[in-house]
């Protein structure tokens, strides 16, 4: 099994979700994060005091899938998240040794 972690632009979530659905992936976990990369942040000025806000709001989508699903899932994420503009985000894939469904205590691919 692999863990796919994608950092995406917040407003692409619906598209990513739909694309993953079509690709047959149902489970995922999403969290709000702040991203720092090449995409430039913005400047806020409060009564003349200027602040550069480098951290941009992003969403992190995590999903654990069976090995063979990785290419499809990655393609789906790209399809949903890509705007072609800087700041579209990254996908990282890591190995997962074990997965357990708490409710049933099933293990392995059956659990994801």
């Amino acid at each position: 099994m692999k863990r796919i972690e994608a950092i995406i632009k917040p407003f692409r979530l619906e598209d990513v979700k739909d694309a993953l659905h079509e690709a047959g992936v149902v489970g995922m976990t999403v969290s709000e994060v702040k991203g720092f990369g090449r995409q430039k942040g913005h400047t806020e000025i409060y009564r003349g005091a200027e602040y550069t806000v480098d951290f941009l709001p992003k969403l992190k989508v995590e999903l654990v899938v069976a090995d063979h699903q990785v290419p499809t899932a990655v393609a789906a994420i790209i399809k949903g998240a890509k705007t072609g503009k800087i700041g579209d985000g990254k996908i990282f894939v890591t190995a997962v040794e074990e997965a357990i469904r708490i409710r049933t205590e099933e293990r392995g691919e059956a659990a994801v």
Partner: protein, 466 residues
Amino acid sequence: MRRLLASLLLLVGLTTASTLFAADPSVEQRLADLEAYFKNGAPATSLVGSPGPGHNGWLMVSAGLVLFMTLPGLALFYGGLVRRKNVLSVLAQCLGLAGIVTVLWWLCGYSLSFSKGSPFFGGMGWSLLRGVTAAPNADYSPWVSHNIFAMYQLMFAIITPGLIVGAIAERMRYKALIVFCVAWMFVVYFPSAHMLWGADGWMNGLWNDSAKIKAIDFAGGIVVHMTSGWSALVLCLLLGPRKGYGREPIVPHSMVLCMVGTGMLWFGWYGFNAGSAVAADTVSANAFVATTLSAGVGLCVWAVIELMLRGKPSILGMCSGAVAGLATITPASGFVSPAGAVLIGLLAGVATYLACAKLKIAFGYDDSLDTFGVHAVGGTLGTLLAGFLATPEVNPNLAADRIKGLVGSTLWIEQLKAGGLVLALSVGATVVLYFIIDRTLGCRVTEEVEHQGLDLAEHGEEGYTH
């Protein structure tokens, strides 16, 4: 026979009348009393001691509104501007001051401020509000209950130290602030209020024939905004800037709260300014107009400046402009024409913008939420402008002998004198009090507390849970 009857009737009539009118007030006198109610003049006979319902009701509303300015108005305006971890500390300061100043006011604060005593300080005759009843006290108002006047003034006494909070936010120890404010009330606020507003006050040009400095301060440009604003500047200089100031982003945690507070302040300010006529009369109406215009114009000025300088008007800018307009019109509100109010709003916007956005950056002091930039600058400017723009057409009291010679001529010099003296008092007292309290209690929280946030460390609570 008819004649006899006529004469008899006449006699009876006159006798009745005379018994009625001799000891008791005459119809004429009673009518005059009733009519005095409409002109906010003093009743002389039958209505002496009765509050006038319209005026009294308006002052109760006004007192409520001024309280509302602090709780929750100012608390939100300031609270929204600090970081999430310090929001409660601001709220606690506003709450604590509301409580402690109420107690002080009852104990002796009202008496020291408004009872007759020396030109600089009131006496103790009204301590514990003894003798401060629901009958009007003609020194302060012919128609508003004396005790309502006392409560109305209490609300000013609460918000004034509350304003200081803005300059020392996010780093001053709670206990130190409360102790500072309690001492400051005695050393700065009570004497200033007495000098400017006390019936025998040394600088009460409007009401005291024997005032040495004939200054006018309608709703607290000197007494409220200058005292707090200049003390705030000194305090933030002595305390030093917040950790990370100028290096890491220290941005408002909720502009929404700040804007809510602004709306509440504007709303409440009608009690503050129009209420300061201590009547629902023509002066009050004029003050209401001036307040509105200055707030609206101040808001627009900030928006326009920001539009020009950075391409977009900010919410904080508009809030600041409105509050600046309100603070600056305060001393002048019951004295100036609509055109005067617009001019004041205009200058208020420009001056406070420069103070907050340029002066502060240039000098690098950390007036966290711009108490100095808005209130001291606005209050000082408004005090001076009141000297130039006050007119008896707006406020007939300026036509009184004791002051009419100054109006439209050298009144601004009186304003400068009064403002300067109170400024000096505020600055001096703050320095002394700061050092005493810093040596004994310690004024500043530890670096760790500052990192963690004052809410948890000083109050054991958090502003929000997720």
